[in-house]
């Protein structure tokens, strides 16, 4: 703190003042830094340590040195099990759902909202509503609407469809929910990104008679690229993060178990080494991939700066 100086140098500042400012900086940062050290640094270090522990007589103890990677070996052994394969497949499906279904639909929706289609403001607000409602409420309403005693019950009964949330259709219902509820959030972010496009560019497009599809592909997408990149990364992270949707809709049954839900459910038990190992393996595999994709996407239209 001895070197502490104002960013804007003030001539009236003496040593006494600088000392006072040091105390100010220290006090302002004390709690946030401590909280960060405990809740981020310590938690993540402990998470790594947990993956080198095992349950011995109901207690977590470090594994012996000759069997240091026992938890990892157990995890890679478990990959042969059908249930684990299903879980990895179900989790990977959210990459497709988020990045290749929800995001493109949201992009198209956002473009027309940005172009001020009739009722754009109303649609924007309605689409955004699911993003602010508790997920429990959303899943309940969704499930009640599509259940046999619900709003569309008579329709499904007449078609001979029963129990959409059981069996093979269950995973489709969870994916459909993710798309239905996820579009609004993406639309808000994308329209806000599009609103930063200079008006003059769009006006000149219009005067040149460029068709909407060309304008969308050649102008709007490149100029909204930073937002698209962010949403694509969020979508990639959903492979590991999605857990409440399958938990509320199917309790993780019928091939809807995900990595996130597995970690959540196993964290309720005593053997915390198992979910910690799963999390660590996923971080080690996922983080470099996600960071590389982010780097690559940012490079694509690197000169967009608004």
């Amino acid at each position: 703190m001895q070197l502490l100086k104002r960013q804007r140098i003030n001539p009236i500042y003496g040593k006494k003042k600088i000392k006072k400012s040091s105390i100010f900086v220290l006090l302002m940062l004390l709690y946030p830094v401590l909280q960060f050290l405990i809740m981020w640094l310590f938690v993540n270090i402990n998470s790594i340590l947990l993956s080198f522990k095992t349950m011995v007589r109901g207690e977590l103890q470090f594994v012996k040195i000759d069997n240091l990677f026992a938890n990892f070996a157990n995890f890679f052994d478990s990959l042969k099990q059908d249930k684990v394969k299903e879980m990895l497949l179900a989790s990977s499906a959210y990459l497709v759902v988020s990045c290749f279904v929800t995001l493109p639909i949201s992009l198209i929706f956002s473009y027309f909202i940005f172009k001020k289609i009739a009722g754009a403001g109303f649609f924007k607000a309605i689409f955004y509503l699911p993003s602010i409602l508790p997920l429990v409420v959303l899943t309940l309403v969704y499930k009640l609407t599509l259940s046999k005693d619900g709003l569309l019950g008579p329709l499904f009964n007449s078609l001979g469809v029963s129990g959409l949330f059981v069996g093979d259709s269950a995973k489709w219902m969870v994916w459909l929910f993710c798309i239905w509820a996820g579009i609004g959030y993406d639309v808000i972010l994308l329209t806000s990104g599009m609103s930063r496009i200079p008006k003059e560019i769009l006006e000149s497009c219009k005067m040149d008679g460029i068709p909407p599809i060309k304008e969308f592909i050649k102008i709007v997408i490149p100029l909204t690229w930073p937002t698209i990149t962010t949403l694509f990364i969020f979508g990639m992270m959903s492979v590991f993060n999605v857990y409440l949707q399958p938990f509320f809709l199917t309790s993780g049954q019928y091939q809807t178990m995900t990595i996130g839900l597995k970690i959540y459910q196993e964290s309720g038990g005593a053997a915390l080494n198992s979910p910690a190992t799963l999390g660590l393996v996923c971080s080690l595999i996922g983080a470099p991939i996600i960071c590389s994709v982010r780097y690559g996407l940012n490079k694509m239209y690197g000169d967009v700066s608004f």
Binding site: M1, L4, R6, Q7, S21, V25, M28, L29, Y31, P32, V33, Q35, F36, M39, V43, N44, L50, F112, I117, F123, A125, I126, F127, Y128, S131, I132, L133, P134, L135, V136, V137, L140, V141, Y142, L144, D149, L151, G153, Y185, I188, L189, S192, G193, P211, P212, P226, T229, T230, F240, S267, L272, N273, P275, G279, C282, A287, I290, C291, R294, N298
Partner: protein, 315 residues
């Protein structure tokens, strides 16, 4: 002479006003002018939007409508209007108790949500604001390290820190306590830090320099000058944070199981009501749970939608 001059300037003003109005009208006309392709595509998209919007409106309207029905009325007519409108379900929803929520009523859960989400929001916004201001405006050793670590923690996805967090909370004896939940929420280096940091970074230093000449100290400057100047962004991030914490299921379900908040308790209540076939009570409970968020959204819809814009951040 003076009167003539006044009249002249008034005419000039009126002329300018008309010119501006004309320009705006032509601009609007230009914006509204649709090409042939647009004239075909726009109505189709409008219909698609309408259908999509109805998939949100109709289910919630159906839940609202059925919450006014008696159980018998619902079983005989679950898609029609109530034959007899009743508020009984809402009265029951407020007093309904079950062991699955440790006999907490909706009102008690609402209270818990206010304390936990409110406390967490106040704590995280305050500490984020303190940290963001100091990192943005002061130079001190370790400043770039702090900033770098924060960026790293936001960019690198870390999966499965929950087991470790549970162990830590048990060790600190914060498990099952409200203060424990608030401690988890109270981080000063999350997304709020980034948003407030960019605001403080662009904030003019002139007021502060003037205050310093008058002899104001750093704390006085921060609380009396900077905080009021940052009122707008602080309110925006507060609302967004409050909604996020209000809807949070994970933290209360793991660390506050015996004192459920609304988002967590509703799951247990809905399971119970679905098992006993008490649908109308469930509908009323859903409406009651949604109400605080809907009211907040109606009051601050513009602020909420304008500030959900982290998308522009480039890594």
């Amino acid at each position: 002479m003076k009167a003539a001059k006044k009249e002249n300037s008034l005419f000039k003003k009126i002329d300018r006003h008309f010119e501006e109005a004309k320009y705006k009208a032509s601009e609007r006309k230009f914006e509204k002018h649709r090409t042939k392709a647009e004239k075909v595509i726009y109505p189709i998209i409008f219909v698609v939007f309408l259908i999509f919007a109805l998939t949100f409106i109709i289910p919630f309207a159906w839940v609202l409508m059925n919450s006014f029905k008696s159980a018998k009325d619902y079983s005989n007519n679950f898609n029609g209007l109530p034959r007899e409108w009743t508020f009984d379900n809402f009265i029951k929803a407020f007093t309904f108790k079950d062991q699955s929520t440790h006999n907490f009523t909706i009102l008690q859960m609402l209270g818990m949500s206010i304390i936990v989400a409110g406390g967490g929001t106040i704590a995280t916004i305050f500490f984020s604001s303190c940290a963001a201001y100091v990192v943005a405006k002061y130079r001190f050793p370790g400043r770039s390290v702090i900033f770098g670590v924060v960026i790293f923690s936001l960019i690198v996805p870390i999966v499965g820190a929950l087991p470790s967090q549970i162990q830590l909370m048990k060790t600190l004896h914060l498990d099952g306590k409200i203060i424990g939940c608030i401690f988890i929420y109270s981080g000063g280096f999350g997304m709020n830090f980034m948003l407030l940091y960019s605001f403080y970074k662009n904030l003019s230093w002139t007021y502060v320099e003037a205050a310093k000449i008058d002899g104001a100290g750093d704390f006085k400057i921060f609380f009396r000058i900077i905080m009021p100047l940052a009122k707008g962004p602080i309110i925006a991030v507060t609302i967004m944070q409050l909604i996020g914490l209000w809807n949070d299921y994970l933290t209360p379900s793991m660390f506050l199981e015996e004192k459920p908040t609304l988002a967590f308790g509703l799951k247990a209540l809905s399971d119970k009501m679905l098992n006993t076939g008490n649908y109308t009570l469930l509908f009323a409970t859903i409406i009651v749970t949604m109400l605080p968020i809907i009211i907040l959204f109606c009051c601050f819809s513009k602020t909420i939608m304008e500030n959900t814009s982290v998308g522009g951040l480039k890594g």
